[in-house]
């Protein structure tokens, strides 16, 4: 008689949590990495060019770079969020033969979209000289390429080396663009910037191909993930939209600046905001470091103890430790960030004066710094939730951020100039509150969430 030994046999084949463990792969790096690069690039850009905006070349250059960063990020985010998961699964199943194919497939998909869009925009909408158009399109493609290769950075794990090449690349951009601008104006600035980006992009591609050699096969296997992990794709979209929507709304306002080439912006707002974002860089760096140590240790221990047959007492204890690690880590960053924020807010008038900024930017800058604290913490909480693979909750936060940022920025436009930037602050506070509640609830019920709700084998 065959009996029902199968029930027992099936139980011995269950997969306990190893899939959940892989969630760490789309971690701090992927949620804050692109943002960090954007902030640094645009922040420094703004810093240097703020005083020279009367110069047509510089204003044109700046607006092209800002456009390219913003649109490339929003459009490639769904792709690279989904691809990160695909790569994580490949690594988890110890079969990375598809990695070169994934890289190539991503490039084809992203460039397939990026090329027509950027060409249409720069060649048919913007009124620019031919070579500027070419350089602008190239710039867009290079930045998109960097987002694509960023997917592999977590897996490569050569963080120090990669940070170095980013640093070198940005140095090259800076020097080359300054040098070439003297002779060639806008084109020189763009070409110089592109040179630095090329350096970064090709360096990353080289590292990826040396880590994952082989012929690219099964290029579009990752497309399936758009269906199975649609929450991730939408999260990528909405999160990056959320971060840019306030600026886009300002650009649509009557008070915007329109250049001769037809490109619109709101330099007072953009400039002040990106300067404010620079204040977040220390916090992001600290978070990334902290996450890879204390929190991750505790997180790993939580799952491994379960797999090693811990009693419930121990599991509960580990959950508590994990919650403490999240809060403890957050506290340190909060203190740092508050200190920076308060100092900046107080010193704002002097700072902006020193930087040659318009006094109109004072209010926006202060709102930006304040909102930035909550924004950065929302980012951390999203990362924490991502570790637990709660995709829908994370999507909810992103959508909320997008809607509130857009809505309240529009409102602030109605309320008058001294309220500009307030929309971002309110949106950040609301999103942070929501994220906090979601994380707190999840960690409170961590054993239930882990065993019953999230467990894929259930």
């Amino acid at each position: 008689m065959a009996g029902i030994g199968f029930v027992l046999r099936k139980l011995s084949q269950r997969d306990d949590f190893t899939r959940s463990l892989m969630a760490y792969f789309y971690s701090a790096i992927i949620s804050s990495g692109p943002w960090l690069f954007t902030v640094l690039s645009l922040g420094v850009l703004v810093l240097i060019t703020n005083q020279f905006l009367d110069a047509h070349d510089i204003a044109e250059f700046r607006i092209i770079i800002i456009y390219n960063f913003s649109f490339s990020l929003v459009l490639s985010a769904p792709v690279f969020m989904v691809a990160t998961r695909c790569l994580a699964d490949m690594i988890h199943s110890h079969d990375v033969s598809g990695a070169p194919g994934l890289l190539l497939g991503m490039f084809i998909l992203v460039y397939g979209l990026a090329l027509p869009i950027s060409v249409a925009f720069y060649f048919f909408y913007a009124k620019l000289e031919f070579w500027i158009q070419v350089a602008a399109v190239l710039n867009y493609l290079l930045i998109s390429g960097i987002w694509v290769t960023a997917v592999f950075i977590s897996a490569l794990k050569e963080f120090a080396a990669i940070s170095r090449s980013f640093g070198i690349g940005m140095m090259v951009s800076l020097l080359a663009s300054v040098l070439l601008s003297m002779e060639f104006g806008t084109i020189g600035l763009l070409v110089g910037f592109n040179l630095g980006l090329c350096f970064i992009l090709f360096d990353l591609i080289a590292r990826i191909l040396s880590e994952y050699p082989g012929t690219p096969r099964k290029l579009f296997v990752f497309l399936r993930y758009f269906y199975t992990h649609w929450e991730l794709a939408f999260f990528g979209l909405f999160y990056n939209l959320a971060v840019w929507v306030d600026k886009w709304i300002m650009w649509s306002d009557a008070g915007r600046t329109t250049q001769s080439n037809g490109l619109v912006s709101f330099p007072i707002y953009d400039g002040a905001m990106f300067l404010a974002y620079l204040s977040l860089v220390p916090a992001i760096a600290l978070f990334t470091l902290n996450v890879e140590t204390k929190f991750y240790e505790q997180y790993l221990r939580f799952f491994q103890d379960i797999q090693h047959h811990a009693t419930y007492d121990r599991i509960k204890h580990n959950a508590r430790l994990l919650s403490q690690a999240i809060l403890g880590g957050a506290q340190k960053i909060l203190i740092l960030q508050l200190t920076i924020a308060i100092s900046l807010i107080v010193l704002a008038p002097f700072l902006l004066d020193f930087l040659g900024s318009s006094p109109l930017q004072l209010g926006i800058f202060r709102y930006g710094v304040l909102g930035g604290i909550f924004h950065v913490f929302t980012m951390f909480l999203i990362t924490a939730l991502s570790y637990f693979d709660v995709r829908k909750k994370v999507l909810l936060i992103a959508v909320t951020f997008f809607l509130t940022n857009g809505f309240f920025t529009a409102v602030s436009l109605q309320m008058g100039m001294q309220w500009y930037g307030w929309g971002y602050t309110i949106a950040s506070i609301i999103s942070f509150s929501m994220a906090y509640i979601l994380v707190a609830r999840h960690v409170d019920e961590l054993p239930y969430e882990t065993f019953v709700v999230r467990n894929a084998s259930v």
């Binding site: 008689m1 009996g3 029902i4 199968f6 027992l8 099936k10 797999q307 259930v458």
Partner: protein, 498 residues
């Protein structure tokens, strides 16, 4: 997938678990023949299986199977997520569950069914297994007695056991006049439910004892973590309950409930009955109806030359459980006294090639390669005329029909004391006066005793013939297939009209 939907009220609903008609084997064939032997009755098949089961039909269902229903174990309807008095429901269920997973029985099952039927359609996977209330229930049950155990193992055990139970208690229940289960376990659980909900007669036929078989599996389950290595398996002196106990005691509760619900508790041989009694079966309801063989078919193969050929045969597959090696060793010993001995192994040897190789090597090593012959799968009717003694050295058996088939042809058997072998060879307590021994029962794994038994019979043709005749008569009287099928016919008759 094969499901025959019907509104016909069948005479008999046969409940099978993990066997007929998707698995070929002894029990399946028995069910198939039972249905075929009662062509005047209409049967409904209630099939319990695992989600991942292969759904290929291994038998062509007889004409008188008017309907089939499948229940996938651990597969529940979703049910409602939230219920108005969820805490109260959880409380009521928890009490019963605690009993059922420890020392439960019929009353507990009845209580559980009452709660389930009160909220019919609303209690499903969502509430019973995945809800926060279910989680709290799990934690309370864990903390009561298992707080020292691997929580992971307890979690999966809880889900597995309860999922299985709920799916059986909430699945479809076709109408029938009699419900007949072929084992305890989940099929027995379903039988109990049928009895409680319809009041119709319930019959149980046990081939192997379900709890025994699970006992071995659970003791050997290496995916169950052993928190204290001195408590391997089912150590009697382990004072704390562990998860293996949980599994065993749950299945024992199901058996207990089933025996209480049955109107008749049948098994194949007496040796099983002590286990049934231990798990609460009432003696007055118990009966032995063994498997039978086609007496006429084998009787014609009897031979007056029996005992003069020096031929012994082990009829069975070449696998470790048949302990061919003891047979080979015994033969080498017999050879010393009876050099004319010719020994055969009649059965396929491709199931375990490694074991077959070892057997061949052993035969070579002992120098019996000439005397011993592996003939493979053969047509037994051709061989029966030549065989003098049938030998079975198995470590474990149920009711091996080969003893009866050979017996019908007048061939005595030497067999190990497992399963129904002793009863078939020596007769059981029902035989009055005793017909005499139809062979010799020897201890397990004992080449010396086996060899001595062979020598004893082989050197005394009169004794051999007499033993053969005794066994033949026993088969004719008590193991004739037609008679046994008639027993089921009158059994069904008795209960259908109730």
């Amino acid at each position: 997938m094969f499901i025959r939907k019907t509104t016909v009220v069948a005479d008999v609903c046969i409940i099978v678990e993990g066997s007929y008609p998707y698995v070929a084997g002894g029990v399946s064939s028995w069910v198939h023949e039972l249905i075929e032997s009662q062509p005047h009755l209409q049967f409904h098949l209630l099939i319990l299986l695992a989600r991942s089961s292969d759904r290929k039909l291994k038998y062509t269902l007889p004409e008188n199977v008017v309907g089939t229903t499948e229940i996938v174990l651990q597969s529940l309807p979703q049910g409602k997520k939230r219920l108005p008095n969820s805490a109260l429901i959880a409380q009521q269920i928890e009490l019963t569950l605690n009993n059922l997973m420890h020392n439960g029985g019929f009353e507990d099952l009845k209580n559980l069914l009452e709660v389930l039927s009160k909220y019919k359609g609303k209690l499903g996977q969502e509430f019973l297994i995945n809800s926060p209330e279910a989680w709290q229930m799990l934690l309370r049950m864990y903390n009561r007695e298992f707080s020292h155990c691997s929580f992971l193992d307890y979690f999966w055990t809880w889900r597995g056991l309860l999922g299985g139970m709920y799916s059986v208690l909430q699945g479809e229940l076709p109408e029938a006049k009699v419900y007949h289960s072929v084992s305890t376990g989940y099929a027995g659980l379903y039988l109990t439910r049928a009895k409680i909900e319809t009041g119709r007669p319930a019959i149980l036929t046990e081939h192997g004892i379900y709890t025994n078989e699970r006992h071995i599996e659970i003791a050997m389950a290496d995916w169950l973590h052993e928190e204290d290595h001195s408590l391997q398996g089912m150590a009697v002196d382990s004072s704390k309950r562990n998860i293996r106990h949980l599994w065993m005691q749950s299945f024992q509760s199901y058996s207990r409930a089933c025996y209480s619900a049955c109107d008749r508790i049948i098994t194949l041989f007496g040796g099983n009955q002590k286990f049934q009694l231990h798990d609460g079966a009432q003696r007055s309801l118990m009966e032995i109806i063994p498997n039978g063989v086609d007496y006429e078919r084998y009787e014609v193969l009897q031979n007056e030359q029996r005992g003069k050929n020096f031929v012994v045969a082990l009829i069975g597959r070449v696998v470790p459980i048949k302990d061919i090696k003891t047979y080979i060793t015994a033969i080498s010993r017999v050879k010393e006294t009876i050099p004319e001995i010719r020994a055969y192994v009649l059965g396929p040897f491709d199931e375990d090639p490694e074991y077959y190789c070892e057997c061949m090597q052993l035969a070579d090593h002992l120098g019996v390669q000439k005397e011993l012959n592996f003939a493979g799968r053969v047509d037994l009717t051709q061989w029966m005329e030549r065989i003098d003694i049938n030998v079975l050295t198995s470590i474990s058996e149920g009711q091996p029909l080969v003893i009866l088939e050979a017996g019908a042809a007048g061939i005595p058997t030497i067999a190990t004391d497992v399963g129904a072998c002793r009863e078939m060879i020596e007769g059981d307590s029902r035989e009055n006066p005793s017909l005499g021994h139809g062979g010799i029962v020897v201890p397990l794994s004992s080449p010396v005793a086996t060899a001595d038994a062979i020598i004893q019979l082989m050197s005394d043709p009169q004794l051999l013939k007499r033993a053969g005749k005794n066994l033949q008569e026993r088969v004719r009287r008590y193991y004739n297939k037609g008679d046994l099928q008639e027993k089921y016919r009158s059994l069904y008759n008795q209960y259908i009209d109730q």
